[in-house]
Symmetry: C2
Subunit: 394 residues, 2 copies
């Protein structure tokens, strides 16, 4: 297949996907390959290709020129495949243990060919099924420290960083976040989606002026603070895991934004388990503490040893930076808790609770905790204070 | 002249500049034109072309591929001519009264052809010569409100703004600011330049850890906060003025940064006159108050009438935004006061004071005021408090 000569986009068929796989010299020349499209069809085609013996496999991901969410379809740029591929390459260089290997990309076809991770499970699904993933929080802490430090002005230098900012300008995908996380949940927008039992809670939230002000500040940070290259969608559905491995996938929302956004998404999506997984609360509290502590230690180490800003390498400025990241993380975590409860895109952690009373009680807790984290984030000055706030709500 | 077919850069001669001027149909076909190169030769060639009757004229500005400062020469991208031309066009659409009209631009030649402003004087020179420019502060307040509001997420909308951010990524010129304003003055860097009589003051400044921390925060804001399209070098040497007109020129440092940077540069460069022009202090204090008050009123008006962020249009978020801009402005003004006193690029306001004792006293005041504005910017909560701090130092 002349994959390098593609001049126009067309969705791949399974046969063409196999042809592409063979052309990459990843399998032996005469390998007999089987192919299965395993994507959910909402945003991307995902082909899983394995050889006859099942000993080798790879994934071909192709962006579709539209997004489908709850029946609606709207056009979406194919450029996001390039952003995703570039982000995977960047993050892969900085934290190779935690990012799938990329074998090939084609901007015209909007295709990325990458490591087969089918021996791992999506972490959200795993957690819901009772998996413990004892190393996932250590791995995510390291991933966050490396990707957020090395893409910052302090890790990369201001000039190289500006070129990265330019490369990762991502208006369309950012708009999804701006609308669905920072805007729509805070008024009676068509995109919101919540069960009738929550109506009075949601109406109270819409009338909370202090909450709206604080969300304006967080959205302002998301819109203006180009601190680091973010994954941009780092929930537990973007993480593949086993008891020994962790791989962060799907960075199509990548752009330069506030470091606390990625950390906050991780916090919030672990908090869903703290809230719903009542028998194993401490396990997930411990995961949250580990994410932050490993992040903090590794970021501190990188700040002190790899800092390119000569005058910035002081303990006081490092403390300020970590405190800002932590405060921002709490606020963004609060926004994620709220939008996953009443906004367009929900989480299975909550929606799969069968008993209505239990489910509504859990959702009231995510709303309550979300509001507290957003409004009190300046007062919650460390991880211990954060965990006690969480326990107050439980 | 086939100016549209230029495929490579070459510095213009006066003859070629005339040819270019004739090709633009600005003058009559048979006009006899005279041309004079009036640039300082450090960064750009500037040709002033007038017709025989002296009734019509224009300016051709061409970037040189290097910068010369105090004898040193280093290469500098010609792309800055495109950034400058794009910024002039953008600012010209938003605040046409205060920006020269652009007639023609050529990215290959790094040329911008613009309105002849030779009936005006550079404001710094005018002020030093005793001009009052009664309208300059009202005009600058309006210019700042319009350019800073309409280029923000709130005036432009987040998606269009991101495209502007991408278009105005400006690593080389930003690096000059990052080094000369935020870094070099705070340690014994080769680029610093100050008279012997200031040595002990400068050494004290280098040992001031709290000052260094606060400057780290301001530099961090400059590096990461993409709030608005800044002029980026808005001192009184970038403003042409008369008693009735004000035109802001030379935005080659334009990029997306914190709004307070432009406002702070204006504050600081008026403060030099407050400090040195002892007979007319109140005039310049009044100019500073007018810049801020006009800016605040016009920005408030635009925020309430033209805001594209539906949930952001609240009094509380507007107050927060103005307070942030003001606080940042004071900090950046402090940095400008310090770097113009001991850094590479000085101001004539200070250096032209002939009497050594008077000059040193004035420079000690700019250093002192600079430190106060940087360290106390959070406590100086309004313009009245700002002016009393200034008067305390005087």
């Amino acid at each position: 297949m002349s994959h390098l000569k593609q001049t126009h986009y067309a969705p791949l068929t399974e046969a063409v996907a196999i042809e592409l796989a063979l052309s990459l010299n990843f399998f032996t020349e005469n390998a007999v390959l089987s192919c299965k499209e395993i994507g959910d069809g909402n945003l991307n085609l995902v082909f899983h290709i394995v050889d006859e013996q099942g000993s080798k496999g790879l994934i071909i991901k192709q962006a579709l020129p539209y997004a489908k969410v709850v029946g609606e379809s709207w056009p979406l740029t194919l450029k996001r495949a390039k952003i995703e591929a570039d982000a995977l390459k960047t993050f892969g260089q900085l934290a190779p243990d935690y990012v799938p290997t990329i074998y090939f990309t084609d901007d015209v076809l909007a295709v990325t060919v990458m490591e087969d991770l089918s021996h791992l499970l999506i972490a959200r699904t795993g957690f819901i099924n009772g998996e413990t993933y004892p190393l996932i929080s250590k791995h995510l802490g390291e991933y966050l420290a490396k990707t957020l430090f090395y893409t910052s002005d302090y890790g990369l230098g201001p000039s190289a960083k500006k070129e990265q900012v330019q490369m990762f300008i991502n208006p369309e995908l950012c708009k999804i976040t701006e609308d669905l996380i920072f805007t729509d949940p805070y008024f009676d927008a068509d995109t919101n989606y919540f069960e009738d039992g929550l109506l009075s809670d949601v109406e109270a939230l819409w009338q909370d002026d202090e909450l709206r002000f604080q969300v304006n500040l967080l959205k302002r940070s998301f819109l203006t603070e180009a601190e680091v290259l973010l994954h941009g969608d780092l929930h537990t559905g973007s993480v593949f895991a086993s008891n020994s491995e962790t791989k962060v996938i799907d960075p199509e929302f990548a752009f330069y934004g506030p470091a606390g956004f990625d950390i906050g998404q991780v916090f919030a999506n672990l908090l869903f388990q703290v809230i719903v997984n009542t028998k194993n609360q401490e396990r997930f509290v411990h995961h949250i503490e580990t994410v932050w502590n490993v992040f903090k230690d590794e970021f501190t180490h990188l700040w002190n040893t790899e800092n390119k800003e000569i005058l910035a390498k002081t303990d006081k400025f490092l403390s300020y930076t970590l405190a800002k990241f932590f405060e921002d993380s709490l606020g963004f975590a609060g926004c994620e808790l709220i939008r996953r409860t009443i906004g367009l895109a929900h989480v299975t952690d909550l929606d799969s609770i069968e008993d209505e009373k239990t489910r509504l009680a859990a959702k009231r807790k995510t709303l309550e905790l979300g509001k507290i984290l957003i409004k009190q984030r300046k007062e919650i000055i460390n991880c211990a204070a954060f965990i006690s706030k969480v326990k107050e709500v439980l």
